[in-house]
């Protein structure tokens, strides 16, 4: 095995065998899954009738046909012949509709059996339970309408029973939107309604990267200081080149991070999928009774997919996001940990690191603040663009832009390219500081001295 391989192996094994690593690896997903379950609990439905304003040219939801069993009240919007946009405007501004929680537009094509989207506009994000209740009420009404109107006098009904039945059982394709996404005229305010969720998720990843660059970067730094203070460094550098030792340490710790992510990913998805099968029951206990056994699976699907939060989450380009997360995390980590290693080599103890940490971490912290405060309001600003290009800030900024879908491919590639070039340059410089620093004891060096080390 090559010597760098040996070093990577030692750095990796001593860290993953630590109790703190094992504890964090197990606790992480539990906290994460707990967070998800908590969201489900928070969106627990109140026991009240859902008041739905209906714009429905099919009359499926009119008094004649509508099934109201699931405590859903259908109220047709007064003036018919209005456009959906106008209806949204009225729903938003008109005083007499302010008691209604939802505005439903049932696409006329629904009764033709073609796959057309209908829309549900809400004032307050509905719980999974409320939404499934509404959806189920629509489906029941549709079923009733098909059986009692459309196919009532059909002489060959029995022949076409099979095809018709599949139509009957097909459920409405309902898309939920927030009323705040529309202005008074019912025009969409934002191009992308799911924008906030996407920015939120991007921010989450940014925070992850930000946090883990510090977390694992300072592990590298502490490792370097440890080797220096317990004086094993001179024994080791008589066997390997200092650069090999530095890279071995950095790569070893990177593997520790990746291991943690992979275990977290697997455990979290197991826990969440376990929990999500219980989410319907989290709503209320009698819902199980209400759902017939055969509908159970179907409802679970509806609940899972139709909630707009989850919908957005599932609809995001996850492959892109995960790939770029790994890339930006790794590159950001590599650059910063090389700098941290150089700091660790320059000082004798951890308290002396502060002075050098500040200028190095400043760009990262700055970028994180900019992202945290301006991502929602001004995600496409020039500032965000430049921060997503600058290699010391791009690991934190670019993820937000990618998950928002606002980063062009060339921008991502350029920023990745810059990161790689910077990585090579930084590692080269850090290697020089490291090489000299690890054998220097005593007085804390000044910037001037460190600058001289670069020339040795």
């Amino acid at each position: 095995m090559s010597k760098v391989g040996l070093i990577i192996g030692r750095e990796y094994l001593t860290r993953v065998k630590k109790k703190s690593f094992i504890l964090m690896t197990i606790l992480g997903p539990i906290l994460f899954a707990g967070f998800f379950i908590a969201i489900a609990f928070i969106s627990k439905p109140e026991d009240k009738n859902e008041k739905v304003l209906v714009l429905d040219d099919t009359y499926v939801l009119s008094e004649r046909f509508a099934i109201n069993e699931k405590s859903v009240e259908w109220t047709p919007i007064t003036s018919s012949d209005i456009q959906f946009n106008e209806a949204i405007g009225k729903f938003k501004t008109d005083e007499k509709y302010k008691d209604y929680d939802y505005l439903l537009w049932l696409s006329p094509k629904t009764i033709e059996g073609t796959d057309t989207q209908s829309s549900l506009i809400y004032r307050k994000t509905p719980s999974l339970k409320s939404e499934s209740k509404i959806k189920e009420a629509i489906d029941k009404s549709l079923e009733f309408y098909f059986l009692n109107v459309q196919y009532k006098n059909d002489s060959v009904f029995s022949d076409r029973l099979k095809t018709a039945y599949s139509k009957i059982r097909s459920s409405v394709n309902l898309v939920s939107r927030n009323i705040n996404d529309y202005d008074e005229n019912g025009v969409e305010v934002k191009e992308n309604v799911d924008f906030k969720v996407q920015v939120g998720i991007g921010l989450g990843f940014s925070f992850f990267i930000f946090f883990f660059i510090f977390f694992f970067g300072s592990q590298v730094m502490r490792g370097v200081i440890e080797e220096k203070t317990n004086r094993i460094i001179e024994v080791i550098v008589s066997s390997v080149k200092p650069f090999q030792l530095m890279m071995g340490k950095i790569i070893g710790v990177a593997f520790v991070g990746l291991t943690q992510f992979i275990i977290w990913g697997i455990l979290s998805s197991i826990l969440i999928s376990l929990a999500s099968t219980f989410i319907p029951e989290l709503g209320s206990t009698d819902s199980i009774v209400q759902m017939s056994l055969e509908q159970n699976q179907q409802n679970a699907d509806i609940i899972g997919l139709q909630n707009d939060l989850l919908n957005t989450i599932f609809g995001m380009p996850w492959l892109n996001i995960i790939t770029s997360f790994l890339f930006y995390f790794l590159m950001g980590y590599l650059i910063y940990s090389a700098l941290f290693a150089a700091i660790g080599a320059a000082v004798d103890n951890e308290t002396d690191t502060q002075q050098f940490m500040l200028p190095i971490t400043a760009p990262l912290i700055f970028a994180f603040y900019v992202v945290a405060f301006s991502a929602f309001d001004n995600p496409d600003s020039a500032g965000m663009f430049w921060l997503s290009m600058f290699p010391l800030t791009s690991p934190v900024v670019m993820l937000v832009r990618i998950s928002m879908g606002s980063a062009e491919l060339w921008e991502v590639l350029l920023s990745m390219g810059l990161l790689i070039v910077t990585f090579i340059g930084v590692v080269w410089l850090a290697g020089k500081i490291y090489r000299t620093g690890i054998l220097m004891y005593g007085k804390k060096p000044s910037y001037k001295e460190i600058f001289k080390w670069l020339k040795y």
Binding site: R10, N230, V237
Partner: protein
């Protein structure tokens, strides 16, 4: 010569650490690398270990210029040494051995032999932080010599050991030499230099100021002084000496028993001194040549050298 350093010069930003230093070390000898603190010993050792490179000059090992493959031929016990505190003894020793190019299998086999020899087999799964300083030093010594290096560089190897363990280590060093290793011993403990070194070099203020076989160095610094114990009185003894013999010091054990230190001048031999004393009826009990200790030589050479430099500077 298994090892030669030719005209090594190493200059740091503010000072010259080594100035045109040449040394050669014959195979299977223990070579004492001596010098006051800051003389440049560690700089030379780091160059031999390829931790730093010289600015001028070259190191020749077995006829070849020093190169990365020689790392495996060298074992190094630095003065400032330590081990990973949280790592287990066995794992750590295996790791260090593999870094020196040993296979896992060989490392395990050799470690077992050494652990049995030092009767420390039970420490394998202990962490270094659970061991005493002396115990950790033993482990450190084992990891240094485990890969049977042709050249062994030991910087203050006895520090941290009690006299019993220091003797144990001393015996191991001698045995390693007899088995074929060439050993650099850098120490301020002049007693151990006299005991085990075959050759020495003395470095002062980045320059080599003295080298050679220990026996020859001692002969060179011998001052022809003899301790003479006699019965009688000191005045009679002093009167018996003439200009070719100088009484340097005298000591009386009681009224009748005395010791005198006499230096022979003008190439006079001990025999002529004895003849003079016998002719004067001095009752000689014992005569012994005063051989300078390495410590005396060290101090003398360094002081002389420093004065010389100061004078030159003035």
């Amino acid at each position: 010569m298994i090892f030669e350093a030719k005209n090594i010069t190493k200059v740091y930003q503010h000072h010259t650490a080594l100035d045109d230093v040449s040394i050669s070390v014959p195979e299977q000898k223990i070579f004492g690398l001596l010098g006051p603190n800051g003389a440049g010993k560690t700089s030379l050792i780091r160059i031999i270990n390829q931790i730093t490179a010289p600015d001028k000059g070259e190191i020749i090992i077995n006829g070849e210029r020093l190169q990365p493959k020689h790392i495996e031929d060298i074992g190094y016990l630095p003065e400032e040494r330590g081990l990973y505190k949280k790592m287990k003894v066995g794992e750590q020793a295996m790791y260090l051995a593999q870094l020196k190019g040993m296979s896992k299998k060989d490392a395990k086999k050799e470690l077992k032999l050494w652990f049995d020899k030092f009767e420390i087999g039970g420490w394998w799964n202990k962490k270094i932080e659970e061991l005493s300083k002396g115990m950790a030093q033993k482990i450190q010594f084992v990891t240094t010599v485990l890969h049977k290096p042709k050249i062994l560089i030991l910087d203050e190897p006895f520090s941290g050991f009690d006299p019993i363990n220091a003797n144990l280590i001393k015996a191991e060093i001698l045995q390693l030499r007899d088995e074929g290793s060439t050993i650099f011993l850098s120490t301020h403990n002049m007693g151990s230099v006299e005991e085990i070194c075959d050759n020495i070099a003395l470095i002062n203020k980045s320059r080599k100021v003295l080298d050679g076989k220990v026996s020859e160095v001692k002969k060179e610094f011998s001052k022809n002084i003899y301790n003479i114990d006699f019965n009688g009185n000191m005045i009679g003894f002093a009167n018996a000496l003439w200009t070719n013999f100088e009484l340097i010091e005298k000591e009386s054990f009681d009224a009748n028993n005395h010791r005198a230190q006499v230096q022979l001048l003008n190439n006079n031999s001990l025999n002529s001194l004895l003849k003079v004393l016998i002719d004067n009826d001095i009752d000689i009990k014992q005569v012994e040549e005063q051989i300078p200790s390495m410590s005396d030589i060290f101090i003398e050479v360094v002081n002389q050298n420093n004065n010389l430099k100061t004078n030159n500077n003035e």
